[in-house]
C-alpha cells in the first residue's frame, strides 16, 4: 500500500497541473493576487484622497465663509463658469459628466439669515457618486465641519447653553453600548465566517485534480487494469489513492496557511500593517493547529467523495461533470454556518462540514468549547469513514470498474 502511495505522490509531484493547483496557487499565485488587490486598492484610495477637486459654487455671495473655507483646502480648485447662477441641476450634471469640474456646491440664498436665526442651512453638493472610490463628499464635509463647529460654538454662547446641555436637549436619554466581546472575539466574528469557506474551497480544489487523475484518469490511460492485476487487494488500492488525495487537499491548505503566515510576517515587518499586527497578537500558533485538526476530517470527506465520483465515471469528461455538483453541495453546509442565529450547539455539532465551519469560527474568536470539538471530530470522521466505505464498495464492483 505504501508503494502505491509513494508512486501516486511521485507522479502527482511531477505533474505540472498539480504543481500549479496544489503548490503555486496557494503559495505564490493567491498571495500575489491578494497582495495585488490590496496594493491597487490602497493606490486608488490614496489617489482619490489626493486628486485635485475642481468645483464651482452657485450663489457664492450667500455664504462667503464656505467659499473661503473651500479655497483654503489643499488640492481644491475653484473654477469660474459663465452664467454660473443660472445653471440648472441638469446643466451641472452634464458638466460633471464631461469633466469640466468634479463637483458643484449650491448655497442656499437664505443661508446666512437661516444661520443667524439658529436654523439649518442646506447646501447642495452635486457630484458623481457612482464611483465607490471617490472621496468628494468626505473632503467637502470635513471642510464644512470646521464652519459647523465654529457656528455651533457661537450659537451655544449666544443662548448660554453648554455642550452637555446641548446633548441633553438633542438626546435626553442616551444608550451607551458596552461591548463585552474582547478584541479577539470581535475580529474573530468578522473573519471567522469567511475563513472556513476559503479553507474548504482550497481543500476541494487541491484534492480535485489528483482525484480525477487517480480514478478516471487511470481508467482512461489503461493503467488501472494493470494495477488491479497485482497481488494488492482492491481495498489497499482504494486506501492508497484516498490517502494521496487526502494528503494533497490537506497539503494545499497547509501551504496556503503557511504562506499566508510568512507573507503576513513579511508584510508586517516590511510594510508595518497595523491590522496584521493585531491579528498575530490575538491568534496563537495553537489556534492554527486546532484549525488544522478540524480540517483533517473535512479533507477526508472531500477525498472520499471525489474518489467515489472519479472511480464511477466512465471518462474524464463525465467525471468533470460530477465535480460541479459536488462543489455546490459541499458549500451548502458551509453557508449554514454564516446564517444569522446558527451557533455551535449539540445539534449543529453533528452536522458534517457546518460543524467544522462553526468550530473554526469559534477557534478564531477564542470561544471554542473543547468538549464540542470532540463531537465534531467524531461526527466528521464517521462521515468520512462511511464515504470511504462506499468508495471501497464501488471499487470492488466490476460494473463500476469496467463501466462502459
Amino acid at each position: 500500500m505504501w508503494e502505491i502511495y509513494k508512486k501516486e505522490f511521485l507522479e502527482l509531484v511531477r505533474d505540472r497541473r498539480t504543481l500549479i493547483f496544489a503548490i503555486l496557487l496557494p503559495t505564490i499565485i493567491m498571495p500575489a493576487i491578494f497582495g495585488g488587490v490590496i496594493f491597487v486598492a490602497d493606490k486608488v484610495n490614496k489617489k482619490a484622497q489626493n486628486e485635485e477637486l475642481t468645483y464651482i459654487i452657485q450663489n457664492a455671495d450667500a455664504m462667503p465663509d464656505i467659499v473661503k473655507e473651500l479655497e483654503k483646502q489643499d488640492k481644491f480648485k475653484h473654477m469660474s463658469v459663465d452664467d454660473i447662477d443660472t445653471l440648472t441641476a441638469d446643466d451641472i450634471k452634464a458638466k460633471v459628466q464631461s469633466g469640466e469640474f468634479k463637483f458643484a456646491l449650491i448655497l442656499p440664498k437664505q443661508g446666512l439669515s437661516n444661520l443667524a436665526q439658529g436654523k439649518q442651512a442646506t447646501v447642495e453638493l452635486h457630484f458623481n457618486n457612482a464611483s465607490v472610490t471617490n472621496k468628494i463628499y468626505q473632503r467637502v464635509k470635513s471642510a464644512i465641519d470646521v464652519l459647523n463647529e465654529k457656528h455651533q460654538g457661537q450659537l451655544l454662547a449666544k443662548f448660554n447653553i453648554s455642550k452637555d446641555q446641548l446633548s441633553g436637549l438633542m438626546n435626553p436619554i442616551d444608550i451607551k453600548r458596552v461591548n463585552t466581546a474582547d478584541n479577539r472575539e470581535d475580529i474573530g466574528e468578522k473573519i471567522g465566517g469567511l475563513l472556513p469557506y476559503v479553507l474548504m474551497i482550497l481543500i476541494l480544489t487541491g484534492a480535485m485534480y489528483p482525484a480525477l487523475d487517480l480514478g478516471v484518469g487511470e481508467k482512461e490511460r489503461g493503467t488501472l487494469e494493470t494495477l488491479l492485476l497485482t497481488p494488492v487487494s482492491r481495498t489497499q488500492i482504494v486506501l492508497s489513492k484516498f490517502l494521496v488525495i487526502f494528503s494533497t487537499g490537506f497539503l494545499t491548505v497547509f501551504l496556503t496557511l503557511a504562506s499566508l503566515v510568512i507573507w503576513s510576517l513579511i508584510a508586517l515587518n516590511v510594510l508595518a500593517i497595523g491590522v496584521l499586527d493585531k491579528l498575530t497578537q490575538i491568534i496563537a500558533l495553537s489556534d492554527v493547529l486546532l484549525v488544522f485538526l478540524m480540517l483533517a476530517p473535512v479533507a477526508a470527506i472531500f477525498a472520499s467523495l471525489l474518489l467515489c465520483a472519479s472511480i464511477y465515471a466512465k471518462n474524464f469528461k463525465e467525471a468533470q461533470n460530477y465535480m460541479s455538483p459536488i462543489m455546490m453541495f459541499s458549500f451548502i453546509p458551509i453557508i449554514f454556518s454564516i446564517l444569522p442565529g446558527v451557533q455551535l450547539d449539540n445539534t449543529w455539532a453533528w452536522v458534517p462540514l457546518t460543524n467544522v465551519a462553526l468550530a473554526i469560527k469559534e477557534i478564531v474568536k477564542g470561544t471554542i468549547d473543547y468538549g464540542m470539538m470532540g463531537i465534531i471530530f467524531l461526527s466528521t470522521t464517521i462521515m468520512a469513514g462511511i464515504l470511504l466505505y462506499f468508495c471501497n464498495l464501488w471499487f470492488n464492483r466490476e460494473s463500476v470498474l469496467f463501466r462502459s
Partner: protein, 280 residues
Amino acid sequence: MIEVQNLAKSFQYDKVALKEKKKKAQVEVDPREDERQFHAVRNVHFKCEPGKVLGLLGPNGAGKTTTLRMLSTALTPTKGTIVIDGQNVIDKPLLMRKQIGFLSGKTSLYRRLTVRENVRYFGKLHGMSGPQLEDKIDKIFDLLNIHLFENKKAEDLSTGMGQRANIARTVIHDPKVLILDEPTTGLDVISAKTIVDFIDSYRGSDVSVIFSTHHLHEVESVCDHVTLIDKGITQFSGTVDEFRAKGGGKDLYSSFLALVSSGEEHQTPAKQQKELMGEV
C-alpha cells in the same frame, strides 16, 4: 499449466442499457441476451501446457477479452473453473496474481514515471525488492534492449519502446502464465514483430502463453494450439494443424470463417477480413 473449464460470465444490464435493449428487442435476437443479463461468456474451455502458445481467436464481441480478464483475475467468473498448476484462480485471486502476467493493447505505463521506475514499481507490488529486483530489471532490459531508454519518461516513448517497456513490466515477476490480449493491435510492423518474437521466445519454456489476436499470420507463426470462441462459446480447441483442417486444409482464414457461427450475423466486414489476413 492452465486449464479452463465451463467458464461463464454474465453482466447485469444497467437501466440505460436495459432501455436500449428493449428498443432493439424486436429487431435483433442475440442468444447471449435475456431479460436482465448479458451472457458475454457462456461456455469456454481450453488448456495450455507450459512452453506452449495458445492462440485465442474469435470475431469482435465473441467474448475473448472477457475470458482473458477472467483469467487475469480482473473479473470474477459467474461459473466454471480456471486452474493454474492445480490451484483454482477464483479461490485465491491475490495469491494467483503472482503466477500471471497480463498485457493488452490497451494497457499502458505510468506516463510520468521513467521506464525503470515503472518496472521497479510493478516488481515491488509483486513483493520483490532490493538488489534482487534491480538485477532482474537489468536482465529483462538486456533481453529487450531497453537500457538505452530506461531513464526516459513513459510519456516520451515511441509506440515500439512503450510496448517493449510494457513487456518488461508484464514479466518482471516471472509469471507462469502469460496472458496477452491483442498486444499487436495498432502497432507498426517492427513493434508487432518485437511482440511476436517475445511470444516465440517462451516456446519450450515453463511458461504457458495465451495470446488473443485478429491476425491469423501471427497465429500461424507462433501458436501451438488454437481456441476459437464465438458468441461466448468455445467452437474449437486443438492444434493449429487441426484448426487448418477445419477449413479444408487451405488456410487459417478459411477455417475461421467455417467455424464462426455461419449465420448472416457474421458477414465479416472488410476491415476484419483484412485483419484476419494480416493486412492491417
